[in-house]
């Protein structure tokens, strides 16, 4: 181990060297690499979590199943997989606001949110969100949580993967699931955002 901070060029060369050795051993192939990247760039992402949220807003029975066992409820929609084998959905309300983090590494519910944004994995978020969640939301995400709303921060220290069921915004009564899906953001399912009210 050395304390040298590598440049992007040095990292790229190191990675290519490592990749070449893993290819020589048959551990990786460029085709499998491309497929894995394609899956997480285009197929597995927060649009899947948004589908789950929109269904939960529209179907009280589904929402009850989602809160009871998120993993099984998501499977009903064909949503499952790596880093989300055992999921728990936590529901925001008028009195509770939930936020997820992994302070020890970067655990995140891939099957519903895709790969985490860099800020989620950076030291700054992991350092501050358990200590000053209201301040972090206010200063970095422009979201003020009223003092009478309880803030619950879920630190994903085990293999349970938590994520947030945001509140359905006012003004969406009678909306179809397809319309509701478009409103749901990644940040609202992490708990650093809310779903904006519809004018």
């Amino acid at each position: 181990m050395s304390a040298q901070i590598r440049t992007q060029e040095e990292i790229a060369a190191r990675v290519k060297a490592l990749e070449s050795m893993l290819i020589d051993q048959g551990i990786m192939t460029t085709r499998a690499i491309d497929r894995m990247v394609e899956l997480y760039e285009h197929e597995v992402g927060p649009q899947l979590g948004a589908q789950v949220v929109a269904k939960a807003w529209s179907d009280p029975d589904f929402k009850a199943r989602l809160i009871e066992d998120a993993t099984e409820a998501c499977k009903e929609l064909g949503i499952s997989g790596l880093q989300g084998e055992d999921m728990v959905v936590v529901e925001n309300s008028d009195t509770v606001h939930n936020i997820i983090v992994c302070t020890l590494c970067s655990c995140y519910p891939w099957p519903v949110l895709g790969l985490p944004p860099n800020w989620y994995k950076d030291p700054q978020y992991r350092a501050a969100i358990t200590r000053e969640p209201r301040k972090v939301l206010r200063e970095s995400f422009g979201l003020t949580i009223p003092e009478d709303v309880e803030v619950r921060v879920w630190d994903s220290s085990s293999e349970m993967r938590y994520w947030v069921l945001p509140q359905r915004p006012a003004g969406t009564e009678g909306w179809s699931e397809e319309r509701l899906v478009e409103l749901v953001t990644r940040d609202s399912m992490i708990g650093v955002g809310t779903v904006a009210a519809v004018a």
Binding site: S2, R6, E9, I11, A12, A13, V15, K16, A17, L18, E19, M21, I23, D24, Q25, G26, I27, T29, T30, R31, A32, I33, M36, V37, Y40, E41, S80, G81, L82, Q83, G84, E85, D86, V88, T103, L104, C105, N118, W119, D122, P123, A127, A128, T130, R131, P133, R134, E139, S140, V149, E150, V151, R152, V153, D155, S156, S157, S158, E159, M160
Partner: protein, 239 residues
């Protein structure tokens, strides 16, 4: 182990910077590193807990300053070297080669339908850490518990900020691989996992805590001891 990766409550690291928009992978090299996690797992380099521990062993200055996916490079190298699957001198030699010739091609190789099939299968199926066990849960929802405050030198998920703290069990999840053995190469030894709620005041002191808030942290059975049993007969949620 006590290390800089255990970041909760660290002050002075600066504000969270949130870019307006960013791609899933910020550089081409990140696209080659991301699949290494699954493919080297398949090749027997590590379990998930060991993978994390390999990252924890990175030089602390490098850990804090290097791009995220470079952490994965370190842990793949760590286990590759340890298992004799990577010749580090050869890795250095090839690194020099690609540094001097960034566009030099990767080695010629054939496709591997088995590897592609593995990717197509494992992405939707996952690899759960849940394990059957006949171990009896020592605790139940509603119990008030204290976290062991000892400081092990190997891998653990018992973060420093919850050590010694008292909280209430709010969820019980069943039995899962125990990272304190699995992450140190000592086997899965499944243990019960619970979610414990700690108030902000308990973790940071009333003077420094934000009002009206708590942290929910998952612990394995050996991490905690009973302070006050629950007064009710509420059964735990079993996921």
């Amino acid at each position: 182990m006590n290390g800089v990766f255990d970041l909760a409550g660290t002050d002075g690291v600066g504000p969270v910077i949130v870019p307006e928009k960013e791609p899933v992978f910020r550089a081409e090299w990140e696209k080659a590193v991301f699949p290494m996690f699954a493919m080297c797992f398949r090749a027997g380099f590590y379990g998930v807990d060991q993978f994390r521990h390999g990252i924890e062993l990175i030089d602390p200055a490098v850990y804090l300053k290097s791009p995220y996916y470079e952490h994965w490079v370190h842990t793949v190298e760590h286990y590759g070297e340890q298992l004799g699957k990577l010749d580090m001198a050869e890795l250095d030699r090839r690194t020099e080669h690609y540094l001097a010739n960034p566009d030099a091609p990767l080695p010629e190789h054939a496709d591997d339908p088995g590897l592609l099939a593995f990717i197509e299968a494992v992405v939707p199926a996952g690899a759960s850490a849940k394990r059957e066990s006949d171990k009896v849960a020592r605790f139940k929802v509603g119990d008030v518990v204290r976290v062991d405050r000892s400081a092990p030198k190997g891998h653990t998920r018992r973060a420093r900020y919850i050590r010694g703290a008292v909280g209430e069990i709010v969820l019980a999840h069943g039995t899962f691989i125990y990272p304190d053995t699995a992450g140190n190469g000592l086997g899965e030894n499944p243990e019960h996992v619970y979610t414990v709620r700690f108030t902000n005041e308990e973790l940071w002191g009333a003077e420094h805590a934000e009002p009206n808030g708590s942290v929910y942290f998952d612990v394995w059975d050996p991490y905690i001891e009973l302070v006050t049993p629950t007064a009710t007969t509420t059964e735990g949620v079993s996921a």
